[in-house]
Symmetry: C2
């Protein structure tokens, strides 16, 4: 799916890490939410409330998921899932375009 | 208007200047288009096809509009209009969040 139809988009960006990570919030008719974001190169730690499915649309990064000791590399497209109420680390090595889905369980 | 409802958003970002300028395309039911974007600090020159209304949602920059000799400063929120088929320059000094409307004449 290359575009989302019949959605609401919040105009102002969400800005993190001095703007090195930014996103826009997309709200769906079924009450679900996604963010579409950009990460500039850098190292980041994020915390989740809901479970998150991170779809990498393009870029290059390594992710350290909670409970893991090995970093997972993604180059180009990819996807990983982060449990609710947890933390994960990213090492972003090229501008990365992503779509994050928030999953209420 | 803090959000756009009943719109289509293109999933993948538009990426310019090595990712220092990125945007997402929002398509409206009436056939019009806007982009919601982020500019990192830097100096940029852009060209227009359609007339553009640039609404600055937050940030800090100076703009040199076509035919002008003086730069115009915007801090926080602001707006400027660029004619079709022209060029304009920006000096962005803080992460800047914008909404660009493309006006078909």
């Amino acid at each position: 799916m290359s575009q989302f139809e019949n959605v609401t988009i919040v105009k102002k960006a969400n800005v993190y890490f001095d703007g090195k990570v930014t996103s826009r919030t997309v709200l769906f008719a079924d009450g679900t939410k996604k963010t579409l974001g950009i990460m500039m190169p850098g190292e980041y730690e994020f915390g989740t409330d809901a479970k998150e499915i991170m779809e990498i649309l393009g870029g290059q990064l390594q992710v350290l998921l909670p409970g893991e000791e090995q970093w997972t590399a993604i180059s180009g497209e990819g996807e990983f899932t982060v449990p609710a109420n947890s933390k994960f680390k990213l090492k972003v090595t090229a501008v990365t375009d992503y779509c994050c889905s928030y999953i209420q369980e």
